[in-house]
Amino acid sequence: MFNPIDLAFKKAKEENRPALLTYTVAGDNTKKQSLVILNAISKHADILELGVPHNTPVADGSQIQTSSYRAIKNGIKTEDVFWIVKKYKKNKNSKPIILMGYYNMIFQYGKKKFLEKCKKVGVNGLIVVDFPWPENKSFLKECKRKSIYLIQLLSPTTSNERLKKIIKNSHPMNYFISMLSTTGGKLKVSPKKIMLNYFKIKKINPKKNVVIGFGITEKSIKSLNKADGLVVGSAICKEITNSIQKRQNPVTNVANLVKKLKYKIL
């Protein structure tokens, strides 16, 4: 299967750096504004994760919760998330899009219908936080049929045996959770330790791209730059919250932050 996500990693590797992945919540702080933000950060980021906001997010810390609740309060619906992706993909400099969210949102939309819609608007990958292996086995196949990557999460608690099984059945991209934490936690493990765990995972199948996420900020990003890709989420959501509080433009602030993040890993 062809997927532009592979190209994004290839390009970053050619430039001898990790790919930069951003996470923002669809509809934060409005439907239109979140689209403007995607367009503004496209220049610096390699892959964009877009959160489908859910009001019972059991794996998210306070920053992403705040963004999600704000988006829901502003009336965002699953249909609007697709609208944002569709519009964004009209931008000729658009980057691969990964939707990230919780399983109930997909379940209520209808699994099949959800994937068809993803395909139609140009979604390239999915991360479903509370839908792990082997529960997601058949969904993994359905995604593959549509050339959409279902990105598996791997955690420091994942046993070796389980890592092997998940990776064997996975699509070409996976996601390593840096530490025991919800999103947005302080990095409580040394980057050295994280990279040690990371390379243990990489060794199982070096061909598959593995990104690292959770707790990465402007401060810590450089120390993890040997990874295939790095995800920054909460720090960006926080920037949006701060901008709103200070009555500043979240678009320029977020674009500046992403630019700085990129600069750190060049």
Binding site: N104, Y109, I177
Partner: protein, 411 residues
């Protein structure tokens, strides 16, 4: 979908933890897969271990106090003028509610697994109070997550938790009630599962928590079965078991031992919280036909909008104020083994007034929901019908609400 005979309902899920092939499961972040698997292995082993069961029974007997009373409500029966109305006074249990069984078992498991800290959620504050008691008894540090709204309305239990040395962490997100407390507790566990055990306060959450809780509260029906035979010589020909249903732990425990009886002989009636009469909001997903969705790691009937956002609930009783319901009850509903209905806030208050007027019993607002339906239905039943209501909590914790809604003389 079929209920099997001779196999405990908690063990009727498939290999992925789904009852009836679709309720329950483990919709959890990857980080929790391992701790959940560890807990499953430990629980499956210990529940067959005679020494562990003896240890459990010793604590149930000497510390929790078994059996709780089974009493006839003579005056209420006379007033209603239909079936005989009895009550299983589970609020006799140490701490004042059924939540003590689950809390005790979780602490025993935590000890066996070498954990030093235990975290838990609470709505009415009973699950939190009991966990704080058990944690103290077994030498564990205890953290309780509780919605800010519930902290405000269930002060006596909050005070008890603090007195037992637990840290009570207010949750300000969402509706600031039980649903948010469970979410926050799960988040805490995600970040601390290496050192901390989690206790889910009802038969909800990932499958193993549903099973542990149901296994623990089944003590209620073990006692009741014995007491019924003692009283009537055998299980009555017409037995109706009424229980309020929040997450579903007291009701499941109240029914479990009678599961294999024909429902014509032993009928189960679950009473959900219908919320204020004037409000569209409720906490009765089974009664009002909510759709299946995923909440707190399990597939279940749950109040939600068409997009899949969990809806806010409303109920006078903090313990029933939860948008979802145990997968076990979804299973019992769809196999038609149990029947579910709802009582409104006002119904519950009226039932509380009646019960306290005629009897020396002060059911909290949760069991008052069950009393409301039991009283209504008992009127139309024959004298040889035995109605039993689980009085699973004491009204002391509801003082503030009762005073406000009914006036001082009812407190």
């Amino acid at each position: 979908m079929k209920l099997k005979k001779g196999i405990p309902v908690i063990d009727q899920g498939n290999n992925l933890g789904f009852w009836g092939g679709k309720f329950g499961g483990n919709f959890v972040p990857e980080t929790l897969k391992k701790p959940i698997e560890d807990l499953e292995i430990l629980f499956n082993k210990l529940k067959k271990d005679k020494k562990f069961i003896a240890e459990r029974d010793r604590h149930f007997k000497n510390w929790i106090g078994t059996p709780t009373r089974f009493i006839k409500l003579e005056n209420l029966t006379k007033y209603v003028g239909g079936a005989q109305i009895w009550s299983k006074v589970v609020s006799d249990a140490n701490g004042g509610a059924h939540k003590i069984y689950n809390a005790t078992v979780h602490c025993l498991l935590a000890k066996r697994s070498g954990k030093k800290i235990i975290c838990g959620d609470t709505g009415a504050g009973y699950a939190g109070k009991m966990l704080s008691m058990a944690a103290k008894k077994f030498g564990l540090k205890c953290k309780i997550f509780m919605g800010a709204k519930d902290i405000e309305r269930q002060q006596p239990n909050v005070r008890a938790m603090k007195k037992n040395g637990a840290e009570v962490i207010p949750v300000y997100s969402g509706s600031q009630t039980l649903v948010d407390a469970v979410s926050e507790c799960m988040r805490f566990w995600v970040a601390n599962c290496d050192t901390t055990a989690m206790c889910v306060g009802s038969t909800v959450g990932p499958a193993v928590f549903v099973r542990i809780c149901g296994w623990s509260t089944s003590q209620i029906s073990r006692e009741l079965k014995f007491q019924l035979i003692n009283e009537f010589g055998s299980i009555p020909k017409k037995l109706k078991l009424y229980n309020c249903v929040g997450g579903g732990s007291s009701s499941f425990g109240f029914w479990n031992e009678f599961m294999d009886y024909d429902k014509k002989q032993c009928e189960f009636i679950g009473v959900e919280a219908g919320g204020p009469k004037k409000s569209k909001r409720h906490a009765a997903p089974l009664t009002y036909g909510s759709k299946i969705g995923i909440l707190h790691g399990a597939a279940q009937y749950v109040n939600q909008n068409s997009d899949g956002q969990i809806e806010e609930t409303e109920s006078i009783s903090a313990g029933l104020d939860y948008p979802g319901i145990s997968p076990l009850h979804c299973f019992l509903k769809d196999t038609k083994r149990a029947r579910y209905t709802a009582a409104s806030d006002e119904d519950a208050l009226n039932a509380y007034k009646l019960v306290t007027k005629y009897e020396k019993l002060r059911p909290s607002l949760e069991p008052s929901h069950a009393f409301s339906v039991a009283i209504k239905e008992a009127k139309k039943m024959s004298k040889n019908t035995i109605v039993v209501v689980n009085s699973c909590g004491d009204a002391y914790k509801d003082k503030k609400i009762l005073e406000k809604r009914l006036g001082k003389k009812y407190v």
